[in-house]
């Protein structure tokens, strides 16, 4: 059989078919409602747990599926054809927490948390960004100091996806100026969350602040070593960026499909509007850029894993794919005219969702910055 970049093994293909079926039957019907209400569907997340999707990148001995970055990309890609907002909540849970936590934790910590987060009994998230430090993440000001066996955390994290629902968070704070990783339960004394931060798109997920006021965290909730946070953060950002890029691809795929069938069915001046050159440009350009994003994302995904670092690839994939989702959603809306702008059809929702990929998990500018730095190091050694 010939090599298939998008489904490198039979398991990948079966996974894609399963998630596609699940998306059509279970995810699509609930998407519009959660978008309007701005709520995350916790039950749907638990269904993902039942299907084994929450620990996709966790080895089998850790209770996961033992699959790779391509598999995670496939799930984000398929889910986002219907509900990028829910896919973002899924990303925060399965990658920002589960994947990140698994590779940073010890056996005792895994035993305490993994069973709960793999089933979705516990929802989880990750706190890195602060009001004063986003792109400049190393400039974070949250601190942790030792107090007997415990750690005392102070600071504020913001824009934390799943902040409203999560039972636990992976949190970065500085110990004597060195970024260190902790797992913090929602009921830790001294941790509170702000109100739900309302937003333009991705409304099938929620976000809030995490406020640490002399928050007392047990000593055995330190992940790895003091100062180990940098490696955890950077390693996880690569798979996160590919998953976000895949979400943009899902949006683009759905929008191409919608615009092609609409342009065929909609008649104006006595013919299908797909007979007009300007409409053909929207369709042709959208398809071409979607295919280019697909090839780039899946090609890079083959070379990203817990032990394979590839920041150049993952930054490039997200830098390229993020605007593709946005532009293709915009093209679809233009092809649909007034219908595209109306709530009755999914395009306006996808259009609002698409913009996030240019900001979250690293802004376009941060990818350009990283690429320049990494490429300079590579070519000027």
């Amino acid at each position: 059989m010939s090599f298939d970049l998008f489904n490198p093994t039979e398991e990948h293909r079966m996974l894609r078919e399963m998630v596609a079926e699940f998306t059509t039957n279970e995810v699509e019907p609930q998407a519009a409602e959660h978008d309007i209400k701005g709520t995350m569907n916790v039950e749907l997340m638990r269904q993902c747990g039942e299907l084994g999707l929450l620990g996709i990148t966790v080895p089998e001995e850790g209770g996961g599926a033992g699959m790779d970055t391509v598999a995670s990309v496939i799930v984000h890609h398929e889910l986002s054809k219907s509900d990028p907002g829910f896919a973002l909540a899924y990303l925060a849970h399965s990658l920002l927490f589960v994947n990140n936590f698994y590779y940073a934790s010890n056996a005792e910590q895994r035993e305490r948390y993994m069973p709960k987060v793999l089933t979705g009994e516990w929802i989880a998230g990750m706190g890195m960004t602060e009001p004063g430090a986003g792109t400049d993440v190393l400039g974070m000001s949250s601190t942790a100091v030792r107090d007997g066996d415990d750690w005392i955390l102070n600071g504020v994290k913001t824009y934390i996806t799943n902040g409203c629902e999560a039972h636990c968070f992976q949190v970065y704070a500085k110990v004597d100026g060195r970024i260190t990783t902790f797992v913090v339960d929602r009921d830790c004394p001294g941790l509170s969350t702000s109100h739900h931060i309302d937003k333009l798109g991705m409304r099938g997920s929620t976000m809030s602040e995490l406020i640490f006021e002399d928050c007392r965290v047990p000593g055995n909730n330190l992940l790895g070593e003091v100062g180990g946070g940098m490696v955890h953060m950077m390693r996880n950002l690569e798979i996160e960026r590919l998953a976000l890029a895949a979400m943009s691809l899902g949006i683009a795929d759905r929008c191409v499909e919608i615009m092609v069938s609409h342009a065929h069915e909609r008649k104006a001046f006595g013919q299908s509007i797909n007979r007009f050159g300007q409409i053909q440009k929207y369709i042709g350009d959208s398809y071409a850029m979607t295919e280019a994003a697909r090839c780039l994302i899946y090609n890079v995904a083959q070379n990203v894993g817990p032990d394979v670092r590839n920041r150049i690839g993952s930054d490039a994939a997200k830098l390229f794919a993020a605007p593709v989702g946005k532009i293709v959603a915009d093209n679809a809306m233009q092809v649909m005219g007034g219908q595209g702008y109306c709530r009755e059809y999914p395009v306006e929702r996808l259009w609002r969702d698409a913009k996030l990929i240019e900001i979250g998990g690293g802004t376009l500018e941060s990818h350009q910055k990283n690429l320049t730095k990494d490429l300079s190091a590579k070519f000027r050694q």
């Binding site: 039979e10 398991e11 293909r13 996974l15 084994g52 999707l53 089998e60 599926a65 033992g66 699959m67």
Partner: protein, 259 residues
């Protein structure tokens, strides 16, 4: 107990069906294959029966083509192993050719309960399950909407139309064909997808089953395919219900002459 399930790879319901240039057969080019939808109910019932009573579930497929992809996917739903009968001798198979090969394989595996879909979504012949039962010398119950097994005895409910249900009881062995509503097929869980790769899938030729080409020679051959005639234009009547109803009856009587 060994529970068999016969499944057929048929063109996915979203595939465009095209006819070969010569018109002698359907084109297989560009077709996306999938397990026939009613077979999904059969697989689910077999797996649920196994979960309730123990035993193992074996999938059977028969084709001239390689069906291992679709069968592997079905294994991720819970069956334990599969027998794929693949032989060029089945290229022009009719219902009896398929039934003959499936019955032989079922017999060889020692199954005592067999589930199938009520019909395959391609040929729509509704013949193979009854033929398999006949060749095995077993009874069969078709279009089953509820199934219970208690030891060796079963109770099957079948819809006979007009809202009437028939309840059939009997003893194994039996062939049961699944109607929609029998159960809700599950999704393949990811750990099962990963395990499916390791489950035994045996590919067998007709000779492996002790059959010759003559044993499966088709009695029915299809020689000419034509696409259905294009549908005429659709007329949409405008106005309120009373006017359009009147106009519809007038047209049906005077123009279509069907009333």
């Amino acid at each position: 107990m060994k529970i068999g399930v016969c499944i057929k790879s048929t063109p996915d319901t979203s595939s465009r069906i095209q006819i070969n240039p010569g018109g002698d057969d359907l084109s297989e080019a560009g077709v996306k294959w999938a397990t026939s939808p009613y077979d999904m109910f059969a697989i689910e019932e077999a797996v649920q029966t196994k979960e309730a009573t123990g035993g193992e579930v074996i999938l059977f497929s028969a084709s001239h083509q390689d069906t291992s992809k679709e069968v592997r996917k079905a294994l991720a739903l819970g069956p334990d192993s599969a027998v794929c009968i693949q032989d060029d001798g089945l290229a022009k198979a009719d219902s009896l050719s398929f039934a003959t090969s499936l019955a032989k394989a079922i017999e060889a595996e020692g199954c005592t309960l067999v589930f199938t879909g009520k019909r395959a979504s391609d040929g729509n012949n509704i013949q193979v399950p009854a033929m398999v039962a006949e060749l095995l010398g077993w009874p069969h119950v078709s279009f089953v909407t509820d199934f219970e097994l208690d030891g060796e005895s079963f109770k099957a409910v079948r819809a006979v139309g007009g809202g009437v249900e028939e309840v059939i009881t009997g003893n194994l062995p039996v062939v049961i064909t699944a109607e929609r509503g029998l159960n809700s097929p599950r999704y393949a869980k990811l750990p099962m997808i990963v395990k499916a790769k390791k489950k035994p899938l045996a590919t067998k030729s007709l000779a492996d089953l002790g059959l010759t080409a003559d044993d499966v020679a088709p009695i029915v051959t299809l020689s000419n395919y034509e696409p259905p005639a294009e549908r005429g234009d659709c007329i949409i009547l405008e106005g309120d219900a009373a006017t359009t109803a009147k106009e519809l009856v007038r047209r049906l009587r005077e123009e279509a002459k069907v009333l």
